[in-house]
Amino acid sequence: MVGYKFCEKLTSKSNSFKLIVFGEESRRAYDRVHLSEYFNGKSAEDLSMSTSTWYEEQEIDLHLNNPVTGIDRMAKTVSTLSGEIFDYDFLVFATGSAAFVPNIKGIEKEGVFVYRTIDDLDLIADYSKNARKASVIGGGLLGLEAAKALIDLGIEETSIIEFAPRLMPRQIDLAGSEMLKSKLIDLGLQIHLNKNTSSIEGETYITGLKFSDDTEMAVDMLVISAGIKPRDELARQCGITVGPRGGIVVNTEMQTNDPCVFAIGECALFEEMIYGLIAPGYEMAEVLVSNLCAQRKSFKSFDMSTKLKLIGIDVASFGDPFIKEPDCRTIVFENKHKGIYKRINISNDGQYLLGGILIGDAAAYNMLLQTSVNRILLTENPEELILGNRGGQQAGASITNLPDEALICSCEGVTKGNICSAVMEQGCETLDSLKKCTKAGTGCGGCTPMVKDLMLDSLKAQGKYVRNVICEHFKYSRQELYDLIHIHQLKSYDEVLNKLGESDGCETCKPLVSSLLASIWNEMILKKGNDTAQDSNDRFLANIQKGGSYSVVPRVAGGEITPEKLIVIGEVAKKYNLYTKITGGQRIDMFGAHLNDLPVIWEELIAAGFESGHAYGKGLRTVKSCVGSTWCRFGLHDSVSFAIRIEERYRGIRAPHKFKSAVSGCIRECAEAQSKDFGIIATEKGWNLYVCGNGGSKPQHALLLASNVDSETCIKYIDRFLMFYIRTADPLTRTATWLNKMDGGIDYLRNVVVNDSLGMAEKWEAEIETLVDTYKCEWKEAVENPAIRKRFSHFVNAPEDKDPTIEFVEMRGQKRTPEWKTV
């Protein structure tokens, strides 16, 4: 990675060098920071730092699978494994590090691995297929990553063995380690601290571990992650000075004892320290490039602050995390219930933040790091830095207080000043253009939220009204457009564009306007002229899947289905060779349908009494239910019947985003109603109505809008709530985000919906009533209309032919799509 960064920086700064790169591995440089994502579906190519043609485009001579084997410093040549000899003027070591393998008896056995390269990962993945129990030696950062990888590979029992009394001993303290440990145990990992492995048991392959305390443990495989050792063997061989415990000794200009030889990254030893993080590695590359281009720059000892997400758990440490009384004062917050531990160390005079540790919640990391690095004066309540502002003045933790030299993106070395001037002087007004221009946020990505906030702040400071317009074709917000379409009685995308917009539209405004038209008029969305203005899923009334096939989801209201209908789904799926899966919303998804087959599949489903499930549209998805009082001994009301009533009432209604609902028959909440856009829970006296919850990447619990209401009132409130949402939410905004942005929050919303503070209740209820009355199954209309039906063929000039490039592979007795076919 550092070697690649060096090439990137050098080629962008100068073209007077001829670069030759030698690599031992068969792959171009790849992202080792995110190595564990290899087991999460990322391919080796996804992890690659560059495109396959990059080196060629930069005229860099790249030799893979061909490591340097000898260096002649007198002749200034290197010889490689292939037997070739190359001249050099300057030689750069960016050889990185290898896994440190302790000398344990039996270490050579089969089933013992290190965790360092993609090849290692391939070997681990291969062996894991026959393993049930695995261990990782080393509870540091990489060890935990390796343990996560083993979980991802489906190993049933994974344990971590650490010699020290705590996890991540270089980053966090004992209390932090305990918190992390309990969270890891919750995730199914076993943690053994203070454990010293004395031997690895087994004949040819590993069967167990023995420890110095005479205990034993049976394991089928072992991953060693006990630290790193710099790859300095070549340097050593040719007489370059290395440290007593390894590492190529460099000065502030990254130069070794030979003025023409340099070292950067994890193989370099600077002031007796190996920097095993990406940011200092990139800084070393920058320093060396500057010096080669005759701009003086020197490397200073680097801040080792770090923030990472380990198995979904935030862990961060910054500044001096371990400094103790009497050299400082510490403030500690611990919440065992939520698994959060935060510690900050402040100077004895209370003025400066010296360092700290965050476990479980590291949202404040960037701000804390900046506060400590830039020596920003603390307010009198520094505890607010970790507890949040509880009224009154903020504890100095705002980006506006940062000095211009504050380093925001440490991977690419971008300061607040760089970002603000890119916004103000170079006109970068979107996150994408800002990233392109400054490179901020393109490394680990951790600073992206801060970069965005700085951008918005700078725009506001310039007096730029950040107006919420849709795109270059419509200078209106979604809300404005909603009213205008109503007022002007516009019925098609082209009419709206001609009357209210300019130019020829795009993929942002087309689906948005189409959704508004559907919300307002509820006409068949594929009416001529409107079909190509639909999002592509709406255009074909199905969800496009990897490979280009579609999925079919009929409505199963409330999750209730007769055996006869189940059989029909089974038969249809069999007939058209579809993969079937139960969805999270209590219905059945059939995947892998050819575009050409969609009309016939739906014809059969409709004949059996099914209708569209609108899984492709921004509208109501499902109303999930528990079985309720008809069967359950705890059930208070008939939750299934109410769920069906609700689902049939709101089916097909288009909204700014999809929305989901659920009805639970009692407080045990088996339908998980509080995670839905609106959720209903039975009480002794009626129903409790919750709103604005969602799952997804940022889960949020729904909030109580009204309690103990009867069914009619509940539906009335939902009518008003939905119409208010449909009329006022920004495009593609779920109800939770809509509420988060609403001034006054849930209290305001309750006032509007329950107390009718805007006087709109009657109108909204009537509007919903119209939508309910005009509902028609889109698929029924589509299969019955020859002009629409004709669109469901892949080739316009060969309507009978299906897309021949669609392929499937077999898995567990069904089919699936092959991986993305990227180069």
């Binding site: 087309k510 190509t532 592509s536 316009v796 897309d803």
Partner: protein, 114 residues
């Protein structure tokens, strides 16, 4: 290299094309996306495969303009490509192939080199 010569492939009738959208045309093994930009009274043809994830999908994408440059957005990840030049307008994906189109007597022809 042998000289390539344009052959005009009769793709479809004008009324078979999707107004302000795309259809896919089969040319032997090759798949071509044909776009009828009715608003601008323009015709475009490009390769049907999106180079980003190698999906046969561009004909199902939405078309539109970016500062007056006609473009198509892939339905998979919304990568934008110019309909005129084939150039990728978002990110670093490689350009897509474009083909000349002509309409004669209500039939749409695409120039294919074979």
């Amino acid at each position: 290299m042998t000289e390539t010569k344009n052959n005009w492939l009769a793709a479809c009738r004008v009324e078979d094309a999707a107004e302000n959208g795309g259809v896919c045309v089969k040319n032997g093994e090759e798949q071509i996306a044909l776009f009828y930009f009715t608003r601008r009274n323009e015709w475009y043809a490009t390769q049907n495969e999106c180079p980003h994830k190698k999906q046969m999908a561009l004909s199902r994408g939405m078309i539109g303009t970016l500062t007056d440059e006609p473009k198509v957005a892939c339905p998979f990840h919304k990568k934008n490509f110019s309909l005129k030049t084939g150039e990728c307008l978002s990110g670093d994906e490689c350009a897509i192939k474009t083909y000349p189109v002509k309409v004669e007597n209500g039939t749409v022809y695409i120039a294919v080199n074979r």
